[in-house]
């Protein structure tokens, strides 16, 4: 018996490892185009150099709401396959039904009924573009928070259509038959001149390239070596125009043109050859950058946070099951899997830090990832001490929920944004922001531990006194930890503000939110020391900490005011309210008279102030 335990544990972990690493070994697409390599080409967008694959995924996420397109008969189209098609064979891309329209008012405004379905292609939307633009312009005159659901929807649709249109015009103008020969023709016929009209270029071509320069979404053309300054990246149209005025066609223009023509002609060999030539050129001149883009593309493929999320669910089930049957064995599986999931989660977190060159928390998305990570770490520590499945169950639940939140936050596009000037200081991001976020994570963990106590105690008879006491110690310890980090984090925030704006404290909503967490944790500790609450009171108070923290984390952002606001997140609002209501309900459950509870926790031995103070 005893010997089989560890072997099984390793089997479980090996199976999980296979699950995590599987995306690295896909079946090659039949088309023969090396699109994975194509997806690794670096481009500049929103101030950051990133692989085309990232651009493809984020754009598809915004336009379609997913990172892959599900075709008929179970086939799928990956983001980079879609983007390549959009860039180099737009006619076919326009037929893909990727625009999701759910709002019946939006459908009606475009002349469709609900029976038209919810998926539309660009071709179908094309006749309505003017209407969409007009409606969006009307809606944009209304302040963001006051817009009706229809107005919000139409503005979003307009933004998605615009993004699609700009993406489509990033390499060549849709309708170009043979981009490569166009460029070759250009090289042959014109004599570069500072006044474009004198170079011999046709007015029509000049207009087309100017349009390309203006409309293009990303910057595919790297600086001319030996320059490396990010400001020197160019859009396709800009680079062609600069050839017209100054000569020297950039090799990247030739490479993209060759790939575009080969792709349109369905010629994988030529495409792959041009791609590999260009890859070689990049390696020669931008080797330093190539590493990061490569890592990012692997990171995209692996999606470590998604894998971790799935494993957390499994851990939660195992840990809960361990309270009913096979306590030792299931508990051990859950614990080892928790460590494995934590490693996967950490890999994701550290890769992001490497790619951004930043401390872990830079925006709301990364705060969610980090809160989950920290909570899981604390959960492992608790489980290491107590080995009763509680640390595993609670940590995996917090890990899952925060990664789910992160997933929804990523719908807005690139999660590795450049930092605005005010926030552009790694020192403060690494101290203040990390401390405050650790405060969030530990307050949540304490709250969820308390939830475990309340649910198990009131609904099941599985909570014996020993477990109850150990839970009380865990919650108390985590609340202490939370007090420390939220206090230090909040004060560090004040000092940052003093250093940067000259005021220590300004009663800004986000500052107030952080202060509320400090006060609440301090209140729990003082109430406990003063004997005002005992075990169950401590639990009920800890659950309220979830409400306070979610208010500070999300609620204040929904006020839409203050220096720290990230924008109005209308869709998250009902969820926040729902969460708070559920927590209040659980607090009520926790406050029921003891005889209504199924587990006999908190027996008659009264814990006086002195003994609590002495033992805690």
């Amino acid at each position: 018996m005893k010997k089989r335990g560890p072997i099984f544990t390793w089997v479980v972990i090996a199976a999980s490892a296979v699950f995590v690493l599987a995306p690295l070994f896909p079946h090659d697409p039949e088309s023969g185009f090396h699109l994975r390599e194509f997806g690794r080409l670096p481009v500049l967008l929103n101030g950051r150099i990133k692989p085309l694959d990232t651009v493809a995924r984020n754009s598809l996420l915004i336009i379609h709401g997913r990172q892959t397109i599900h075709l008929q008969h179970g086939a799928t189209l990956s983001a980079i396959e879609w983007l390549t098609e959009l860039l180099m064979n737009p006619g076919q891309a326009d037929e893909r039904e990727i625009f999701v329209i759910r709002n019946p008012d939006t459908l009606a405004a475009l002349g469709w009924g609900v029976e038209a379905g919810k998926y539309f292609s660009f071709r179908q939307l094309f006749p309505h573009l003017q209407e969409i633009e007009q409606q969006a312009e009307l809606a944009q005159k209304v302040d963001g928070q006051l817009r009706s659901p229809f107005q919000r929807d139409i503005v979003k649709l307009y933004e998605r259509v615009l993004l699609y249109h700009r993406l489509q015009n990033s390499i060549e103008i849709p309708g170009t038959d043979d981009f490569k020969s166009d460029i070759e023709e250009l090289v042959k016929t014109i004599h570069p001149s500072t006044t474009p009209m004198e170079s011999g270029i046709s007015p029509d071509a000049l207009q087309r390239y100017a349009f390309l320069a203006e409309t293009g979404y990303f910057f595919p053309i790297p600086p001319v070596p030996p320059q490396t300054d990010p400001q020197q990246w160019r859009k396709m149209g800009e680079s062609i125009l600069s050839f017209v005025t100054a000569g020297n066609l950039h090799p990247a223009v030739k490479a993209y043109a060759a790939m575009a023509s080969a792709y349109a002609a369905g010629d994988p060999e030529t495409f792959n050859a041009a791609l590999s030539d260009y890859g070689g050129w990049l390696q020669e001149h931008f080797a330093a950058r190539a590493g990061k883009t490569h890592v990012e593309s692997i990171f995209n493929t692996l999606q470590p946070f998604y894998s971790a999320m799935v494993i957390y669910v499994l851990i939660f089930i195992l840990a809960c099951a361990s309270w009913l049957v096979w306590e030792q064995r299931l508990g051990a599986y859950a614990y080892s899997l928790l460590i494995f999931a934590f490693i996967v989660h950490s890999c994701g977190l550290f890769t992001r830090m490497y790619l951004e060159g930043r401390p872990p928390v830079t925006n709301l998305y990364s705060s969610a990832v980090f809160i989950g990570w920290a909570a899981v770490f604390l959960g492992i520590v608790l489980e290491r001490f107590y080995r009763n499945g509680i640390g595993s169950a609670t940590a995996s639940m917090v890990g899952f929920i925060t990664l789910l939140i992160a997933h929804h936050l990523s719908m807005d596009g690139d999660t590795m944004e450049m930092m605005r000037a005010v926030l552009d200081t790694n020192g403060w991001l690494a101290t203040h922001v990390v401390c405050v976020t650790l405060g969030y994570a530990s307050t949540f963990l304490a709250g969820f531990l308390a939830l475990t106590y309340i649910l198990r105690g009131s609904l099941t008879s599985s909570l014996n006194q020993e477990t109850a006491r150990s839970l009380a110690r865990m919650v108390y310890g985590i609340v202490c930890f939370a007090t420390l980090f939220s206090f230090v984090g909040t004060i560090l925030g004040g000092i940052w503000a003093d250093q940067s704006w000259g005021r220590f404290w300004g009663w800004d909503p986000k500052e107030n939110g952080a202060l509320l967490i400090v006060l609440w944790n301090a209140m729990i500790l003082h109430a406990r020391w003063g004997g005002l609450v005992k075990q169950r009171g401590l639990m009920v108070m800890a659950v309220f900490g979830n409400i306070v923290t979610s208010w500070s984390w999300f609620g204040v952002n929904m006020l839409g005011i203050g220096l720290h606001s990230y924008g109005f997140m209308e869709s998250a609002f009902p969820w926040l309210i729902g969460f708070c209501v559920s927590q209040l309900a659980l607090m009520a459950l926790g406050s029921l008279p003891l005889h209504l509870w199924r587990s006999p926790v908190e027996m008659q031995r009264p814990t006086s102030v002195r003994t609590v103070a002495a033992t805690s």
Binding site: L44, N46, G47, R48, F219, P230, Q231, W233, F385, E417, M418, R420, A421, V422, D424, T425, W428, R473, G477, C480, F481, T483, L484, F487, V488, I491, L492, G494, I495, D498, Q499, S500, W501, G502, R503, F504, W505, G506, W507, D508, P509, N512, G513, L515, L516, L519, W520, M523, H526, A527, W529, G530, L532, V548, W551, V556, L559, G560, I561, G562
Partner: protein, 394 residues
């Protein structure tokens, strides 16, 4: 002798009960709870009141009042920040006075609470002593004063002597109600006729004979003024207007309309001297001058996301023989003679730099307080933790 001690002990009994309440943990918990309510409602109120009004009403006050819309009365609904801060401070000090016994086990607790006391006192001192203002400089411009963005003053400038101006500045609080202002160096008195905390000025049309202006002199004769609600937005400011009547020994000289929106001074003569009147942002003069050499605004490649702002300024201080270039950028201020200059904003197509100017003698306190509290918390909790681990291993 006996009666004396009895009397003393009676007196002590008399104080014992209140002292017990003041030093109780129960009071701490109640105060913390009330503080949470105050902060929560103070945050919500910012949506409608704006951050500055909320600061005054919720946090820098003894009570938060509420009155039903349209009613003339108000009732206190919550203790304000000053009251709660004071009670917490007394509670903390009393609790430590009552139960103070120094032991190694309690060192952390004492340290951290001392830090909290220091923090509260520091915030009180900052509230009382800190002075915040702004310095707006166009490229090439030199100034030796900063301005309070939300406070105005009425300046009476004697420009008779071509070599220097003599200025009498009257703070806003004297302008808000109808009153008469006299100043020994001025040969006239100023009567405040009407004060509008926020206003809109419109040029009067030629045919508009409807309501004649209250102003009889200056540009105000042709301007119609209407009062508008005070702004709650952080990035807007109120535009004050005030009608001032000037009265000399010889009789009334007329009524002028003075306003933030009228930036040019309006002049008149009295007793052979020439005076100018202007309403402007309250000024704080410095012993040194700053010149903006140039302002830079970097953006990330291919975006409008600001990467950095910075102002290169020339600092000239004749008193101390300083004459040098300084670079002020985001997160990197200039500290000089008790003032700190922060890069705060820009305007005018990147040609104007706005610096936040702060003078806060209590600035250092939060730093010390934070260190004490952090040290105290770490000491206390690590003692818990090690105690716990030792017990488990035993």
């Amino acid at each position: 002798m006996f009666t004396n001690t009895l009397a003393q002990s009676r007196a002590w009994d008399f104080f014992k009960q209140p002292f017990r309440v003041l030093s109780s943990l129960r009071l701490t918990v109640v105060c913390l709870g009330l503080a949470m309510l105050l902060i929560f409602f103070g945050t919500l109120a910012q949506v409608h009141l704006g951050i500055h009004a909320v600061q005054a009403r919720y946090f820098q006050s003894l009570f938060v009042f509420w009155s039903p819309p349209g009613a003339g009365w108000k009732i206190p609904v919550l203790p304000g920040g000053y009251l709660l801060g004071t009670v917490l401070l007394i509670n903390l000090i009393a609790a430590h006075a009552a139960r103070f016994q120094f032991s190694r086990k309690k060192a952390g607790i004492i340290l951290l609470h001392f830090g909290v006391i220091l923090l509260l006192i520091g915030q009180l001192l900052t509230g009382l002593m800190a002075q915040e203002s702004q310095l707006r400089l166009d490229e090439g411009e030199t100034r030796a004063y900063s301005e309070a963005p939300r406070e105005t003053e009425l300046a009476v400038i004697d420009v008779t002597n071509p070599d220097y101006d003599q200025v009498v500045a009257i703070p806003e609080r004297f302008l808000t109600r109808a009153s008469t202002i006299q100043q020994p160096t001025l040969p006239f008195t100023l009567k405040i006729r009407r004060f509008l905390p926020n206003s809109q000025l419109v040029m009067r049309g030629q045919d508009s004979s409807a309501s004649s202006s209250e102003a009889t002199n200056g540009v105000g004769v042709n301007i119609a003024v209407s009062e508008i609600p005070r702004t709650v937005k952080d990035d807007e400011r109120d535009l004050v207007s005030v009608f001032v009547e000037v009265e000399s020994m010889e009789g009334a000289l007329g009524t002028w309309l003075l306003a933030n929106a009228i930036s040019d001074p309006q002049s008149f003569t009295c007793s052979g001297r020439t005076f100018e009147l202007v309403v402007r942002q309250r000024r704080f003069y410095k012993q040194f001058a700053l010149t903006l050499l140039n302002f830079t605004h970097d953006r990330y490649a291919g975006t409008d996301i600001p990467k950095n702002f910075s102002s290169r300024v020339r600092l000239v201080d004749l008193e101390r023989n300083e004459n040098r270039d300084v670079l002020i950028s985001m997160n990197d201020p200039l500290r000089y003679r008790g003032y700190t200059f922060y890069q705060s904003g820009f305007d005018n197509d990147d040609k104007t730099s706005i610096l936040q100017v702060v003078k806060n003698p209590a600035m250092i306190i939060p730093y010390v307080a934070c260190a004490l509290v952090a040290l105290g918390l770490v000491t206390q909790f690590s003692m818990h933790l090690f105690g716990f681990i030792r017990k488990r291993n035993a």
